[in-house]
Amino acid sequence: MKKLSIVVCLFALAISSITATGVKEVKPNEAMVPSVVRTNIGSEPDSLDPWKSAATDTEAIFHNVFEGLMLYDTNGKMIPGLAESVVIAPDGLTYTFKLRKNVLFHNGKPFDSADVVYTYNNLTGMSGEKAVSSKFSLIKNINAPDAYTFVITLVEPSAGFLSLTSIPIVPEGYTNQAEHPVGTGPYRFVEYTPGQRIVLERNEAYYDANRMPKIKRAEIYIMTDEAAIVSGLQSGQLDFASITAEDAKQLSSDYTIYNAPQNMVQIFALNNEDPIFSDVRVRQAVNYALNKQDVIDGVFGGYATKLDSNFSPVMGMYYNDTLSGYYEQNLAKAKQLLLEAGYPNGFKMTITVPSNYQAHIDTAQIFAQQLAAIGIKATIQPIEWATWLDQVYTKAQYQSTIIGLTGKLDPDSVLGRYTTTYPMNFFKFSNARYDALITKAKVETNDAARISMYKECQKILTENAAAVYVCDPNLTVAARKDLKGYVFYPVGFMDLSTLYFEE
C-alpha cells in the first residue's frame, strides 16, 4: 500500500504546484493598465468574409475591422468614413465621394479609388461575376475619375441609399477574406479559432487619431452558456460581456452596468393566412388580450421598451410615437372581438418557438396563460432553430411564433419585410396601400415626406394587427469598474475603439 500512498502524495503535490503558479497568472495585474480587453460573443461568426456574412453578431465584431465609405454614429446618422465627404446631386441620382488619402489596408496596401471600384463592381455584379448583394441593384453605374474620387449613379433616387454605403471596402484583388480578413478599420484581424475565440489587434497605422484605439488587443471568446459568461466576468477572465438584466442586477455593485435599448423588436407573429388569424378581429383580440408589461418584467427583468409598433424608439425620427399604448390589455374588448369573429368560446392554437431562445419560450408561456383568459388555448411547440428557419421563416407553415428581429439603419429594410412580394414575408401580411407606400417612400428624397410615409406604414401594421409587437429588450453590458467608454449604436456594433482602462 505504500506505493499507493506515494502516488496519492505525488498527485496532491502536482495539484498544488499547478495551482500555486496559477494564482498569479489568472489574477489581473492591478498595478498596470491592461493592454488586452476580453469579451464574449454568443455565436460563432458565419463567415469572416464580409461578402459572405449576414449575421448581426459577426457584424458587431467585424465592424471594427472593416469600414465603408460612410460610417454611422451612435445616433445612426451617416458620417464620413473612408470618404472624407459626399456630394449628392440635386436630382438625387449622382453621389460623388471624395476619398480619404493616406489610408492603409491592414496588409499595408494603400487605399484608393481602385479598391472602391473593385468592391462596388463585385457588390453590383458589374464585374461580370454574380452580384454579391441584391441591395445594390439600383446602382446604374460607377466610376472613378481619379485616384481619390468615386462617383455612383443610381437608376432612381433613393433616400436610403447612403446607409448602404457603410458596407465594407475591401482591397482590390484580395480573395482570402474568409481566412484572413483585411480591412481598414481601427482593429486588424489576428486570428480566429473556431469554437474558441477571435483575436483583434490595434491598427497602428489607423488614419483617424480620434478613433485610434486605446487598448492594444481584443480577445473575443465564443461562449454560449450564460452561467459560464457570468463566472467568466466574476473570475476576471472577461473584462466586459453582455448579460441578462437579471444577472446585471446581481452584479451591479461590482461592475459598471451599461443598459440601453438595442433596436430589436420582439414580435409575436400571427400567420395572417392562417384560417383563424386571417380575420383581423382575431388578431386584434389577441393584441388586446396580452399584457406586455408582464413579459418585460418577467422575462427581461424590467429592462425593455414596450412597443406597439414594428419600430423601436431607437429608430429616432422614423419611430411613430403616436402608436404607443395603442393596444392596452382589455379583456372585455378582446372577448367582444372574438365574439364578432365567431369564436365566442375561443379556439386552440400553437405557438412555435425556436428552442434556443429561452426568452422567447418564457414569453410564450406568459402569453399562453394570458390568452387562456379569453378562452384561447395555446400550446407551445419549441423547435430547433434550423427547423424554425425552414418551416416558419421560409415556408410560413405555422400558426404563430415569437422571434426578435434586429433593426437596421434604413427603415426600408425593416418595413420591407411586410410587403406582399418580399420572399421571406412570413407574417403573410398583405396590404395594397402598405405596399404602395413602401415603394413610394423608397424613391422619396424629401426627408419629411419620407418619414411621414414610414410612420404611416407603422400605423397600418399596428391597426391591422399584423403581429403583436411586444418590446425592445435592452442590451445589458457589465464591465469591470476600470473599463470605460462603452457606447451603444442603434445597430449591433460593439465599438472596441472607444474602450479604455482607467489608470
Binding site: 450564460e226 437579471e246 444577472d247 446581481q250 452584479l251 434556443n356 429561452q358 423547435i383
Partner: protein, 274 residues
C-alpha cells in the same frame, strides 16, 4: 419475527436499502402530488418571481413566479414516467433481440449484433437530436429518442445471458422433451436472466433521467410549460446568481433519482452474485 426471507435479503444489502429509500422519497413526492398540489404548477405570477422560500411558497418561485414545490410534485410524475417508459422501451425491444441473438447464434446473431453495433457507433445525442428535429419536442418523442438509445444495453445483457444458458443441461433436457424454441426462451431461460435485466433496468433508469436533463439543456426536452426535473434545471441555470435554490432543487431531485437507481442497481448486482 418471521419476515419474508427474500425481502430481508434485499434490505440487508446496504446499497439496495439506501437506493430504495432514495427512490421512495421521490416516489412518495409523486404520490403526494396525486392528492395535493398547493398551486397550479403552470400558473404564472410575475409579481412574485424568483422568491426564496416563504410560508406561501415553501420552495420559492421560479423565473415566472410559478410555485417550485408544485412544479416539483408534477415534475416527479413526468420524470418517473419518462424513466419507466424509456426502460420499458429498452426492455421490450432490446431483450427479445438479445434473446434471439444469444440463443440462435450464427447468422441471426451476426445480423442483430451488426444492427446494435451500428446503433452504438451512432452518438446517442445525435440520434436524439435527429428524432426531435424530425418529429418535434414532446414527451413521446423524448421517450422514443431515449428509448432507442437504451436498447443496446439490454440486447447485450440478454444476449450474453441467453448464450450462457442455451446449452445448459436443463435447456437441452426440455429440448429433448420437444419443447418449442419460444417456450424455452420465455419459460426456461428468461427467468434466469431476470436478475441481470433488473440491474440493467435500474441503471438504465438512472441514465434516462440524466439524459433527459441533457436534452433539456439543449432546449429539446419537454414541451413547456410542463415541468420535468431536466426542464426545470435547464430553465433555472440562467438564474444561478439570483436564485441558487432554484438550481439546487431540480439538481437534488435528479441526483436523488439517479443515485437511488444506481445504488439499487449496485445492490441488486451484489445480491445476484452472492
Amino acid at each position: 419475527m418471521k419476515r419474508n426471507f427474500p425481502l430481508r435479503r434485499y434490505f440487508s444489502n446496504i446499497h439496495f436499502a439506501i437506493g430504495f429509500y432514495m427512490v421512495m422519497t421521490v416516489v412518495s413526492l409523486m404520490i403526494l402530488g396525486f392528492f395535493y398540489i398547493p398551486y397550479d404548477p403552470n400558473a404564472i405570477d410575475i409579481a412574485h418571481k424568483l422568491q426564496g422560500a416563504t410560508t406561501a411558497h415553501i420552495l420559492g418561485t421560479d423565473q415566472l413566479g410559478r410555485d417550485i414545490f408544485s412544479r416539483v410534485l408534477v415534475g416527479t410524475r413526468v420524470s418517473l414516467l419518462i424513466g419507466i417508459l424509456v426502460v420499458g422501451f429498452g426492455v421490450l425491444i432490446g431483450t427479445p433481440l438479445g434473446a434471439l441473438s444469444g440463443y440462435f447464434g450464427g447468422k441471426t446473431d451476426e445480423v442483430i449484433m451488426k444492427v446494435i453495433d451500428t446503433q452504438m457507433a451512432f452518438p446517442g445525442i445525435l440520434l436524439a437530436l435527429m428524432i426531435i428535429a424530425v418529429f418535434g419536442t414532446s414527451l413521446q418523442n423524448t421517450v422514443l429518442a431515449l428509448g432507442l438509445m437504451s436498447i443496446p444495453r439490454f440486447t447485450r445483457i440478454a444476449r450474453s445471458g441467453f448464450m450462457k444458458y442455451r446449452n445448459a443441461e436443463f435447456v437441452q433436457a426440455s429440448r429433448a422433451r420437444g419443447a418449442s424454441h419460444a417456450r424455452i426462451l420465455v419459460l426456461h431461460i428468461l427467468p434466469n436472466i431476470v436478475p441481470e435485466l433488473l440491474v440493467t433496468a435500474s441503471l438504465g433508469f438512472a441514465s434516462a433521467v440524466m439524459s433527459e436533463a441533457g436534452l433539456s439543456y439543449l432546449g429539446l426536452g419537454m414541451q413547456p410549460p410542463n415541468p420535468s426535473f431536466g426542464k426545470m434545471l435547464s430553465e433555472a441555470q440562467n438564474y444561478i446568481l439570483q436564485a441558487w435554490w432554484y438550481v439546487l432543487i431540480p439538481s437534488v431531485a435528479i441526483s436523488l433519482l439517479v443515485m437511488g437507481f444506481n445504488l439499487l442497481g449496485d445492490g441488486l448486482q451484489s445480491i445476484n452474485q452472492q
